[in-house]
């Protein structure tokens, strides 16, 4: 069965306007939000896993997009979260531009193939310029969900 991002991204895991102004603070805010919504069981371990990757690569993939991600048993299942930053956050992107759209992905250690597939699907989706524009202009979490649902094939 084909993996659908819209089936894993929950409405409560969407932050329309993130307050943080820099990378680690943004990850903290997203994870704290997910812990508060009971989507993550161990926030500290999750942040540690994400920070490990941030030190070894740029998860800012350019065009205003960042995809922080990690495999960690701090989560029970494959999980997505979304945040938007009107001002943009420096994720050390490959094109040097700030990231306005942040997608966070995590999966348990043992679900590597799903995790890789999720990253591939999301990266492909976000390469499409119209999708990025729609996500930047969306007014609420339901619109975000609808954009993803309509544009993933």
């Amino acid at each position: 069965m084909e993996l659908k991002i819209s089936e894993y991204l929950k409405l409560e895991a969407i932050i329309m306007d993130i307050k943080a102004k820099e990378k680690i603070a943004a990850i903290d805010e997203l994870v704290e939000h997910m812990v508060a919504k009971k989507l993550v069981r161990d926030g500290k371990a999750f942040i540690k896993a994400l920070a490990k990757r941030e030190n070894l690569e740029s998860t800012g993939i350019g065009d205003g997009i960042a995809i922080p991600h990690a495999r960690t048993d701090a989560v029970q299942d494959l999980i997505f979260a979304f945040a938007r930053s009107p001002e943009g956050i420096d994720f050390s992107s490959i094109d040097g531009k700030p990231s306005h759209i942040i997608f966070l992905i995590a999966s348990p250690e043992g679900k590597k193939s799903e995790y890789i597939m999720a990253l591939a699907k999301l990266s492909r989706l976000l390469r499409k310029h119209p999708v990025r524009e729609l996500l930047r202009d969306a007014k609420n979490p339901k619109e975000i969900m609808e954009i993803i649902r309509k544009n993933e094939e």
Binding site: R53, L56, E57, I116, L119, A120, K121, S123
Partner: protein, 131 residues
């Protein structure tokens, strides 16, 4: 010679063993690893024609497979403490590769050792390592 930055160039027929070799090399040299997957429109069209599929369908599969390869490599690189930067582009492999070499000041290219790689070898201004 000091190799601070390697560029691994991948195409759709790359196998996973090349990923491990590239990560190990970068670990040994304590180098940064830039990874570039190039989707060549001509190859996509040819494959679509040969398999009687729409170009759009073949392109989608090629792109998804490309991202999967990139993230598989990244996962292995993180386990080994190797810094990576992932890139996927549509275009001519030779032209895109040369642009990346200049843009990121790459010290050496890593490529799969095969006949078609000769076109990069001939025109490259930096060392090539065939994996």
């Amino acid at each position: 010679m000091d190799f601070k930055k390697f560029l691994l160039v991948l195409t759709e027929d790359a196998d996973q063993s090349i990923l491990t070799d590239a990560v190990q090399l970068c670990k040994d040299f304590k180098s940064k690893l830039y990874v570039l997957f190039v989707i060549e429109p001509n190859r996509v069209s040819r494959l679509a024609s040969l398999t009687h599929q729409k170009v759009k369908v073949v392109h989608k599969k090629t792109e998804e497979d490309g991202w999967k390869l990139l993230y598989l490599l990244e996962d292995e690189a993180v386990e080994n403490g190797v810094w990576t930067s992932l890139h996927l582009e549509d275009g001519n492999q030779l032209k895109v590769t040369n642009r990346y070499v200049d843009a990121y000041e790459i010290d050496a290219l890593l490529i799969k050792r095969k006949e078609e790689s000769k076109k990069i070898f001939v025109s490259s201004s930096i060392p090539i390592i065939g994996l």
